[in-house]
Symmetry: C2
Subunit: 397 residues, 2 copies
């Protein structure tokens, strides 16, 4: 049983703030600064180059990968950490396409996060082999998995609406059509129970600065199914993915297993912050997180809707069809969010009209959620957002 009092105590959060944006940037684990300071002063400062071995820096990416693996249903040795999510999407897609040389279609949906689509476009343009990026509506994906699809590239949880894809069903459908399935878990890891192995995902990627609380710009992760990993050809053939990086062999030979998905020198300092964040996850059961997340988000929807009809739910009403966020639509979303933030309730906005709220039971209480909804209702009732100082807000992350 997860002890949420314990996990809450592991975060330092600013006074006077109700933080409903952990789906964009997770809150700061109390131990992060000290852990990073140790890495900087005691490891880098004192041990210098020797820390690569003595402090275990070189083994960090697979070690941290295994800790994330536990949260997404990946077996040990199948996840590695590094780079950004965009880079990890590129690696997964390049490897998957090489495994389906006779097919030319990458299938995605219009609810996917744009960088996934951009990275796919960039890769397909670079390949110059006549591939097509086919983008359909999220609800049309299952039917669109036809026999010409090489790879499905889908994000499990829609970043705008929180709509949840059925990973196991769509993966089965992809396999039945002879395609491979890549899953982006940006809004899933640490948000909902994920079982990449059970769902038979071929590749999965994700970031660690949202629900996992790894810090701004924390490194990404990639999972490759053990069934494929030794056949996966790394397009980004960096030295850290080489079988023997320090042999300085002139020819690239991919390392065993998931190690081949490493690229360059690991981001040691960022990984220290991420490790402190992952300590909080020890002893946390994702089923408990899911139950708490549903309780919080249902409570929030009820409170907002009971205050009046001006905000229109953009997320699925059925909690089983949502991730760990709730969105509402309003033409003045930006101004409303600015007014809300001025009152200490932090969510964010996605163009053109989405107000987005994330629910992170590791540090968020039901009282905070209710209080956030009360303040939102008050802003809607008084139309406080019409104040000119709230009208010019720009979106960010």
């Amino acid at each position: 049983m997860t002890d949420f009092a314990l996990t809450r105590a592991a975060f330092d959060r600013p006074a006077g703030v109700i933080y409903l944006d952990g789906n964009s940037l997770g809150a700061m684990p109390r131990a992060a600064a000290a852990r990073v300071e140790h890495t900087i002063r005691a490891e880098w400062g004192e041990r210098l180059i020797r820390a690569w071995n003595e402090a275990g820096w070189m083994a960090q990416p697979p070690r941290v990968g295994d800790r994330i693996g536990r949260l997404i249903g990946a077996p040990a040795g199948s996840v590695v950490v590094g780079d950004t999510l965009s880079i990890k999407v590129y690696q997964a897609l390049a490897a998957a396409l090489a495994m389906r040389p006779d097919r030319r279609v990458v299938l995605s949906d219009s609810g996917n996060f744009p960088t996934d689509l951009y990275i796919a476009q960039g890769l397909l343009d670079t390949l110059g082999q006549g591939h097509e990026l086919r983008v359909v509506a999220p609800e049309a994906v299952a039917q669109a998995i036809t026999d010409d699809v090489a790879v499905t590239l889908l994000t499990e949880v829609d970043y705008r609406t929180g709509r949840l894809h059925d990973m196991a069903a769509l993966t089965a459908r992809a396999h039945a059509a002879g395609a491979l399935a890549i899953w982006d878990l940006a809004h899933s890891a640490g948000a909902i129970p994920v079982d990449v192995a059970g769902a038979k995902a071929d590749f999965a990627v994700g970031c660690t600065y949202k629900y996992l609380n790894g810090g701004p710009g924390a490194p990404a992760f990639i999972y490759v199914s053990p069934e494929h990993v030794d056949a996966a050809q790394p397009a980004l053939a960096g030295w850290m993915g080489h079988e023997k990086p320090f042999a300085f062999d002139p020819d690239y030979r991919p390392g065993a297993g998931i190690e081949r998905m490493r690229v360059g020198t690991p981001p040691v300092i960022a990984l220290a912050a991420l490790e402190a964040a992952l300590d909080v996850w020890d002893g946390v059961d994702m089923a408990d997180v899911r139950a708490a997340s549903i309780r919080l988000s249902e409570r929030f929807i009820d409170s907002v809707e009971s205050a009046g009809p001006t905000l229109v739910l953009a997320s699925p009403r059925d909690p089983a069809a949502r991730g760990s966020q709730v969105s509402f639509r309003h033409p003045d979303a930006y101004a409303i969010m600015a007014a809300l933030i001025a009152r200490g309730v932090i969510g964010d906005v996605r163009a053109p009209d989405i107000l987005r709220f994330g629910f992170t039971p590791l540090y968020l209480t039901e009282e905070e959620v209710v209080q956030g909804a009360v303040i939102l209702a008050e802003i809607m009732r008084t139309e406080a957002w019409r104040d000119p100082r709230f009208q010019a807000r720009q979106a960010v992350t």
Copy 2:
């Protein structure tokens, strides 16, 4: 005039250590830990998502890029920071090849750092268009720049021997043959004066954890000549390189200028450490660094050679033909280095037989260098390295 007493005071170094490996991992700037702690506690912890705008995180990559640009002769707005050097090599090579669609040869040399060759192999395999990676001896490069070469991919300073390429001459030769020139400045930036604009380099890439002292795994940088940048097609088309990342446009449109070479979310915490490191470079003149580096390395060579003939200089004897490192060959290089490190003198080894020593005037004194050479001479005279505990050493970074 650079005040090296001032720069030395800006570093914290362990007592009892003579550090001749700043060419692999630079020493720790005294301000790094506090700067990172501020980013973690005051920015991430207190401002949470708001810090993307309020703390300037979003603008960090080009701002830090400009600070590095000053050290490599790049005009403002032509350098951006992020990812690893391997990724930046991939970006530069993919963009350059797309600008020479009628040619199929990438020319490099056997002194190049292996990851550059691996990344090129990975890209060429991915392209599948019959490109050839042609690798010649470093001294044969000029003659090998023939009319079929699309791109030269060269590292200015050889990581093993310190041998320096003539960037301006080879670039001119590449251009005369209709090729583009990519320069890897991993062992140049902060080590020697570099003038990418004066040399007319088309692309340049480098890392920041060596002479620039940005910390383990610090992010890399890329320079694209202003002449090319608006035509350079990003293969790694991540959202941060999009013209309007927060429009969440389904189609990728590259950003103006160097911004298009951004990929994913910036590594904020790592960038904070790098910024502290770059503060030390304010007021530093690369010509002074070069003069001091030559003084230190000449002094080291003289001391080592006067002690006996067992260590054979692997670096060019002419300091004008070397970067800021000196290497010696010996069949028992690993054991010798292990014995040296046990005595507090830290250099490193490159397979099979290279002992490598870096000279970093920002924090290294002439007394330390002489003392390091004295200890090395003593180890060679007494054959202390024959001790079995020194015989099993493994190389790292």
